[in-house]
């Protein structure tokens, strides 16, 4: 009997092709779409097909019909709300800039969904992520960047450990996006040319501040002042959740030189701004650090490349793992770009992801 794999399908082209490829390879594919947030009611004009459904789920369902594998919608709204959305909101309220995709991978796709896979008798969970999993000669699993550097999503996956990787398949890891779309067209998938989603899935309009304001109790919001490095007040603001470290636009200040957010002090409500050169940091402290393979990281300081935002290049740095799941990262060049608390800092060695953590503060 062939191995059963639960494929998380969003209705987009990547997860559709991932499922189709696994089906072609002979896996016993079970497609699932996760219901994560309350769907906005679809405008009547955009509804299509026989039922008033979520269009993305219908796209996934059509792929399952075409490729002839079973497909189900699973309701993980409560879990997603408690473990991803609540975290997203409270991080913003505490002056940090969260990365909900990392949390969703850690808490939902490779945790709750993985349990569900076991309940359904599946051996693996697969997704359409662009990343690679390899096994080294000692049988340990390695997490690697995707072949397509422009699509690489390994940054979002640093929380996966040996157990998770042993039960995970990333069928697109060696493909480019163009190859994936071409494959989708070959297979006759209707969503071959569907545009990519760019925004965070539960904030489709991209207005995070408004989302936080609707979700948080009013007394949790932290209004305060925008101040300069000397502590002089430049303006008042409606809440620290509206800012992210490194932000330039939307500060509502007039100044001869561009000003950037350097620090957010959630306790006092102060948002400290300054010129660009004040943004660089010598390094950072990360918390909640996890390693893909604890055996691969030696004690003491090691040379790595650290990526502190998804779209940033990885910077040469020295990594020192400390007690209590913390790490100290020091940039080689003596100063890195805006270090944003709440974002993930992921440690690479070449193409390999060693692990990562969440940025607590700049050094």
């Amino acid at each position: 009997m062939s191995a059963r794999v639960l494929v998380a399908m969003s209705g987009g082209v990547d997860s559709s092709v991932a499922a189709a490829i696994l089906r072609e390879r002979g896996y016993d594919v079970v497609g699932v779409a996760m219901r994560l947030a309350a769907e906005a009611p679809a405008p009547a004009a955009r509804r299509r097909g026989t039922c008033c459904s979520h269009e993305d789920f219908e796209d996934a369902r059509r792929v399952a019909e075409r490729m002839d594998f079973p497909f189900y919608v699973v309701d993980l709204r409560a879990e997603f709300g408690a473990r991803v959305i609540d975290n997203f909101v409270s991080e913003y309220l505490d002056g940090r800039t969260p990365n909900p995709c990392v949390m969703c991978n850690r808490e939902i796709k490779f945790a709750r969904l993985s349990e569900r896979a076991a309940a359904l008798g599946a051996d693996y969970v697969a997704t359409g992520h662009y990343a690679r999993i390899e096994r080294n000669p000692r049988g340990r699993f390695r997490l690697l960047r995707a072949a397509d550097a422009t699509k690489d999503q390994s940054y979002f996956l640093f929380t996966l450990g040996q157990t998770e990787l042993s039960r995970t398949l990333f069928p697109l890891g060696a493909m480019t996006k163009a190859e994936v779309r071409a494959r989708a067209r070959e297979l006759g998938l209707a969503n071959a040319d569907k545009p990519e989603s760019q925004e965070i899935c539960f904030v489709p309009d991209g207005d995070y501040a408004r989302f936080v304001e609707r979700a948080a109790p009013r007394q949790r919001l932290r209004p305060g002042n925008i101040v300069d490095a000397k502590g002089c007040t430049l303006a008042a603001h409606g809440g620290v959740h509206r800012f992210t470290v490194g932000q330039r636009r939307g500060l509502g200040l007039s100044s001869p030189e561009p000003l950037y957010v350097r620090e957010i002090r959630a306790e006092s409500g102060d948002v400290v701004v300054g010129p660009r050169d004040g943004l660089t940091a010598a390094g950072l402290v990360a918390r909640d650090v996890s390693l893909v393979d604890p055996e691969s990281v030696v004690e003491g300081a090691i040379a790595v490349e650290a990526r502190i935002r998804y779209r940033h290049p990885a910077l040469p740095a020295t990594l020192a793992i400390e007690a209590g799941d913390r790490a100290r990262v020091t940039f080689e060049s003596g100063g890195g770009p805006a270090v944003t608390p709440g974002q993930a800092c992921v440690f690479y060695r070449g193409d390999e992801v060693l692990g990562g953590g969440f940025i607590e503060r700049a050094l």
Partner: protein, 398 residues
């Protein structure tokens, strides 16, 4: 071989129906029952014969049967047609455990000024006849209730409700989509004025249903056009559907008592097997007033959604609550109304069997269900699922 345990959603075509459909297809006649020519006359004769067969299943006269597009249309026609035909009366009595095709038109009428009284059931899913009587007044136009509930199978004590409803001068509508063919129904004894039946619940195809309309009662039509179906349902009738429905009604009626007894024994066997292998299993619904074919079960410590999918992957087809627009399953509103907690409702599945179910299937299904329950409980402990209701942040997005 897949094991189909979802008869309350729709039964497979009966063999008699399959051959009737094949005969119709081979005869290749183009008749419209309203046409004057001989082909039309043949079609009309077939339609009226089907009407007689359907009428016989519920002890009605043929002219009291209006063919519709299915149970949902019958319920809509009964409720909206009666409400619109009622000149002055503005109150409608129903219950919270009805099918969506009853609840939705009543919501529509409530938004247009009708006073809709929705009675709550007891823990077994029964509506007290005294509560119905107490809700009646001289302004009551209509009482609409399900004779047997689709999700738990509970049968209402409608014989006790009919006389007070008649005395109040209100119209009594029964949704018998689940009851027809499973328990004896004589519309005269039930003292109802309108009664819904559905083709695909008794082994005819989906897309055909009927509404019994007591002789002398006129409903405002939903479909307007020609004078078909005594003016209550315009449009060329679904002749093939009606023929199939007639044959299915005849077959269901002819074997009803033996078949119901056989099916009830199989369901009891299933329950006993599951009870022995699943500690803490609970049967929902009033066990002494219940369709013998329906088992609504709460499985301890598992999510019904996981059980449903895992069972499907093992070839056992059951159901849970209702599907939302996105295709996910939602906890049953009926179970919630009966007083089950949200988590209990989320752990409940409906097994419903029928004419083609065999003892061998019951044996195999009971074994698979127990095995799947053990696996799901071990792999996905309920404690790891954040249960109860969506949290504040999720609520805020609505």
């Amino acid at each position: 071989m897949r094991i189909y345990l979802d008869y309350n959603a729709g039964a497979p075509l009966r063999p008699e129906v399959r051959s009737a459909i094949a005969r119709f297809a081979e005869a290749d006649e183009a008749g419209n029952p309203a046409a004057v020519h001989r082909s039309g006359q043949h079609a009309r004769r077939a339609l009226e014969q089907a009407r007689e067969r359907v009428a016989r299943l519920i002890g009605a006269a043929a002219h009291e049967i209006v063919f519709t597009g299915g149970g949902t249309e019958s319920n809509n026609l009964a409720i909206r047609g009666a409400a619109e035909a009622s000149a002055a009366r503005r109150r409608i009595v129903t219950s919270v455990i009805e099918h969506s095709s009853v609840l939705a038109p009543l919501e529509y009428l409530a938004a247009r000024g009708f006073e809709v009284i929705r009675l709550a059931p007891d823990r077994g899913g029964r509506i007290a006849p005294a509560a119905v009587e107490a809700a009646l007044d001289s302004d009551t136009a209509l009482v609409s209730l399900g004779l047997a509930n689709a999700e738990v199978g509970t049968i209402q004590d409608v014989a006790a409700m009919g006389p007070p409803i008649a005395r109040a001068g209100a119209i009594f509508h029964l949704d018998a989509a689940q009851a027809a063919g499973r328990i004896p129904i004589r519309v005269g004894d039930l003292r109802c004025d309108l009664l819904t039946i559905s083709g695909h619940k008794i082994g005819a195809p989906a897309g055909i249903g009927a509404l019994y309309v007591r002789s002398g009662l006129a409903l405002a039509p939903l479909m307007m056009g020609g004078p078909q179906e005594a003016g209550m349902r315009a449009g060329t009738p679904n002749l093939l559907g009606a023929i199939a429905f007639g044959i299915a009604a005849e077959a269901a009626g002819a074997h009803r008592d033996e078949e119901s007894a056989r099916v009830a024994r199989l369901a009891e066997l299933m329950l006993a097997r599951l009870d022995a292998s699943i500690p803490g299993l609970r049967l929902n619904g009033a066990s002494d007033h219940k369709l013998g074919n329906t088992l609504n079960l709460t499985f301890p410590e598992v999510l019904g959604e996981s059980m449903l999918i895992a069972l499907d992957l093992e070839g056992v087809e059951v159901s849970m609550g209702s599907a939302c627009a996105a295709g996910a399953v939602e906890p049953s509103h009926v179970l919630l109304a009966m007083g089950l907690g949200r988590d209990e409702a989320r752990s409940s599945l409906r097994l419903s069997i029928g004419w083609s179910t065999t003892a061998d299937e019951i044996d195999r299904a009971a074994e698979i269900i127990a095995r799947v329950w053990r696996r799901v409980r071990a792999a996905e402990p309920l404690a790891s699922a954040v249960s109860t209701r969506p949290n504040a942040a999720t609520e805020a997005m609505r």
